[in-house]
Amino acid sequence: MEDGIVSLRGVRKVYEGKQAVTAVAGIDLDVREGEIYGLLGPNGAGKTTTISMCTTRVLPTAGTVHIAGIDAVRNPADARRTMGVVPQYNTLERACTVAENIQFHCLYFGFSKADAKARTAQLLEQFHLTERAGAYPAQLSGGLAQRVQIARAIAHKPRVLFLDEPSAGLDPQSRIAMWEAVQRLHTEGITVVLTTHYMEEADELCDRVAIVDGGKILVEDTPAALKNSVGAKTLYELDLREPSDTLGPILAALPHVSGVEQTPRGLRVMAEHADGLLPQVVSAASGYGLRDLSITEPTLETVFIRLTGRDLRE
């Protein structure tokens, strides 16, 4: 395996205490330069701990972390120069304006005062924040504050941008604006690593996705390949009044059906083609108390459920 710009080897994190908690149970990961890489998983899966170890904020119990070739555990101060970080919470300096937040960040990274000013002006323009330059963080909406945080994080021109749950707490409109901002950075060549528990976000935004659960990477691939791995183009979700053992085999015998599985509310029929199948499914199931039927395409959520037997939001 070739080392990526973000490269984790055998990384584990155990929080000692009365009851030791294994947050990350051995992760190997390589992010290629220039891609948008997503860690998708439910809350408590170990995503934030993993990203915090990359960003030098959590020390791994075991394993190595390299960012752009720099050992982030041994040499955190140097590694920080290569990365921009947007944490889950709004960490903007309340006592400083939007422009000052970015400007001071530049100074920390060795910019001269003039360079810091110029870079700040450029970023304010790029993120459509020029009008809010003199505003204080308390005056900003969640979406705007998020944009300032991203602008600040990339102010020192890092090679990798880490976003921890970037759309947590954002309204749908702000989320789309954030996605656009991230995609624009992507076209400029920056590598992006993000965590999310929104499958749409991983699907829409990421070149590659790792599905994480229980502190481990279960599977890693492009969103398209992950969805293909389900082996079906169309899913019929059957909501049945009472469970039945005999309906499954009947549905499985229908043409183009590649599989049938039990769900909490009934059955899921997976099919390679949808042509003419719907009436057959309905007529077969109507004798078994069919209450509702929905037709969907496989999503990353389907992949997650197939891997873990659980819902992403559980």
Binding site: R57, D78, R80, R81, Y108, F109, R159, I190
Partner: protein, 291 residues
């Protein structure tokens, strides 16, 4: 709508490599400039914070009380002071400076850290600057020390104008005074760091009762350490209180006519406390920001 300013891929490298010491120095300076900027913006509250305590103390004890009849009977320290040939204003000057120094350390480091760790996490971006984490803590101590020095200097004009009886201050050794003020101010910052990282953010209000009040009242602020000779166990007990060395140091430097500890002992103990509190505070800081 303005168009995005595209950054060519080639320039998307990290800032050019410089030697680690230059990188650290620049980051450190950046943190310092930021703190200075925020302090300048909050100059009003800062001035109120550092002026109120010495102002009220001097007003009550050196203006109101002397105007009352029989004030010495109500104020044993005043009679003790007059026994040594100086008035209470003179006893109070170094003590109030020590309190000003100590309190600035709490207000400049401990309280903001409690807010940071408790809710805003504003310090995150500073922790992520290209500097070893301990230096971020050192910067807090040093910046706090500057505020302490200003707070101590403010006591002078107040002590000159307010008391009804004149204050007799006499500096025999400027280097000793400077050494005491600098060491005491840094120690106060380190104390603030220790408190701010050791106390649970939600309980920071308690430190006034549990830490600040005891170390002030038992810090030889309102009486010289020698005067405690009558209560021997207390005279030994207060030696673990860093404020004792701050007030005794200032007493030795400013009002040498009053009894005070040996100057070498004072400098030694201030250095010991500075090292100890910096060590504990920095460790606490790293534990708070690095998981």
């Amino acid at each position: 709508m303005s168009t995005a300013v595209a950054t060519p891929r080639a320039t998307l490298a990290a800032t050019p490599a410089v030697s680690p010491s230059t990188q650290y120095l620049r980051a450190f300076t950046g943190l310092f400039v930021r703190d200075l900027h925020v302090l300048r913006r909050e100059l009003g509250p800062f001035m109120i914070r550092i002026v109120m305590n010495p102002l009220l103390f001097l007003f009550v004890f050196t203006y109101i009380m002397p105007h009352m009849s029989n004030s010495a009977a109500m104020n044993p320290t005043a009679s003790m002071a007059s026994a040594t040939g100086v008035n209470f204003s003179t006893v109070l000057l170094p003590g109030l400076m020590a309190v000003a120094i100590m309190f600035s350390g709490i207000a400049a480091v401990a309280l903001p850290l409690a807010v940071d760790f408790g809710s805003t996490r504003e310090i995150d971006d500073r922790v992520m600057c290209p500097l070893p984490t301990s230096f971020v803590a050192f910067e807090k101590i040093i910046f706090s020390a500057i505020q302490s020095i200003i707070a101590a200097a403010i006591v002078f004009p107040l002590a000159y104008y307010i008391p009804s009886t004149p204050v007799y201050a006499h500096v025999t050794s400027w280097p000793f005074l400077i050494a005491v003020v600098v060491l005491a101010s840094l120690t106060a910052g380190a104390l603030g760091l220790t408190i701010g990282t050791a106390v649970k953010p939600a309980q920071i209000g308690l430190i006034f009762g549990v830490v600040v009040m005891p170390i002030t009242f038992l810090g030889c602020v309102y009486y010289p350490w020698r005067a405690l000779a009558a209560i021997h166990w207390l005279q030994l007990g207060v030696l673990i209180n860093p404020i004792v060395y701050m007030s005794e140091g200032l007493r030795a430097a400013l009002t040498p006519t009053l009894p005070h500890m040996h100057p070498a002992m004072i400098l030694l103990m201030l250095t010991v406390f500075l090292a100890l509190l910096t060590w504990i505070g920095t460790r606490g800081f790293i534990r708070r920001v690095i998981g």
